[in-house]
Symmetry: C2
Subunit: 267 residues, 2 copies
């Protein structure tokens, strides 16, 4: 290990700083993780680390030895002063560790072969919703997520944090065009049941018997699914609404349907 970096003019720190801008992040094909918990989740999920920055205190602490041992086998570690680490991070307290991780690449071929239950997200805007949806999908036994173009970047810091490690638990294929998805659906996923959450559906979500292989489509917070996606769905389901409420939060709607599907499979 080299000396402790303490200057914001250090080239590695300048590079790290740039990655907080979403355009640079995307261009470089990497994303930033802050804090022990997320970096542990990334390590457990087999993430491809590019670089890890940590404070001398974090490096020395006994409780971090396991994680550091695992990381040292895979990536070069850089010591950074506590102050500079805090100054650089997006969170108030990065807890002594920041990592740069390479964005995983998914091919659609592999994607539909390895997953039985897939969540498709159409133009989800709110980072908190996106992160919660990923967390919930993983918890409900979904094995993959497809985020269509027009959805918020899943490597946005708020999405990562709200996902509570979920982005490392299941593969997520993002920035997929609708045409690409439709073509794949025909070529590779013809045996999947295509489900749409639709406030105007006739059936309640608990009245339908779900197939083993399925794709659940959830649409934009304000406008729901795009018309052409609704049109190709094999089945549309709605959630009953009481108390004169007009709608549910999109992440809540996704969760209610996802866990009904899981419950049917466990019953």
């Amino acid at each position: 290990m080299n000396e402790i970096i303490s200057s914001s003019q250090n080239d590695k720190i300048k590079y790290l700083n740039k990655l907080y801008r979403s355009r640079t992040r995307r261009k470089e094909g990497v994303f930033v993780l802050e804090g022990k918990r997320l970096i542990e989740a990334a390590s457990a999920g087999g993430a491809d680390f590019e670089r890890v920055f940590l404070s001398p205190a974090f490096f020395k602490a006994d409780k971090n030895k396991d994680l550091i041992d695992k990381l040292q086998n895979r990536v070069s570690l850089d010591l950074v002063s506590e102050e500079l680490l805090k100054e650089t991070a997006a969170t108030v307290n990065p807890q002594g560790i920041i990592a740069i991780v390479k964005e995983p690449n998914y091919s659609s071929e592999k994607f539909f072969k390895t997953a039985d239950k897939i969540l498709l997200l159409d133009r989800i805007q709110d980072p908190g919703n996106m992160g919660t949806m990923i967390r919930t999908a993983a918890a409900a036994g979904f094995e993959a997520v497809i985020a269509l173009k027009g959805s918020v970047d899943i490597y946005n810091q708020k999405v990562i944090r709200a996902s509570m490690g979920g982005i490392f638990a299941i593969p997520i294929w993002q920035k997929v065009s609708k045409n690409e998805f439709k073509k794949d659906l025909k070529d590779r996923a013809a045996d999947f049941e295509l489900l749409a959450a639709d406030i105007k559906a006739e059936k309640y979500h608990f009245e339908h018997q779900y197939q083993q292989k399925l794709i659940l489509m959830i649409g934009n917070e304000a406008n729901g699914l795009a018309e052409d996606l609704l049109n190709i769905a094999d089945m549309k389901v709605k959630i009953p609404l009481k108390g004169e409420m007009e709608s549910l939060n999109a992440a809540i709607a996704a969760a209610v349907i996802s866990f009904e599907i899981l419950a049917q499979q466990l019953k």
Copy 2:
């Protein structure tokens, strides 16, 4: 209607400004609403308005006539310049209207008599979660919410916005002490089934047959329900978790159980 207020030194505007501080808000027993949609929801829910500020453009617009007619019968309206209204508001765009509403008062006696399904929230911290829980509870047919002391103020601007009008759809009794709740439970709600969402429960949420009259208890985001509340529960239920995820977001957990209860009643 008097002239248009355009100075931030106007006494009514100074009072309004102070209400954005939560201590003053609580002391005065009122809260602030911004935007047409929320104020319509408040009006429909029978809210007790103290004062309404609106821009000359909002006042003149044909599409706002219905709302203004309703408000004029109940409260004094003040015209405020567009600029001053924007400067005062917490949202980027208050859409021409801000209202001060009196906090409703609930007696526990009435509370348990008029509701069959009640959601109890124990130390919910995140305003977005709190608002979403209220919105979801109303949508799932819950008829009341009790927020125990230590939960975020339901009249916090972020809670109000996330609730999407839900805070006007059902009565919410907040800042209730645990002892007060336990006493009421004995004295007034002995015939309610007391349910706890508990990650360590033995039964899955879909394995239990819920009673008609029930109180569903949901705990703090990080730590769940307090031990003593778990101990008095008639039944504990958990949600199955896959993908090595350790937990769900608290609002998601509340939604999944609430809609299972509703589904059982509709089946």
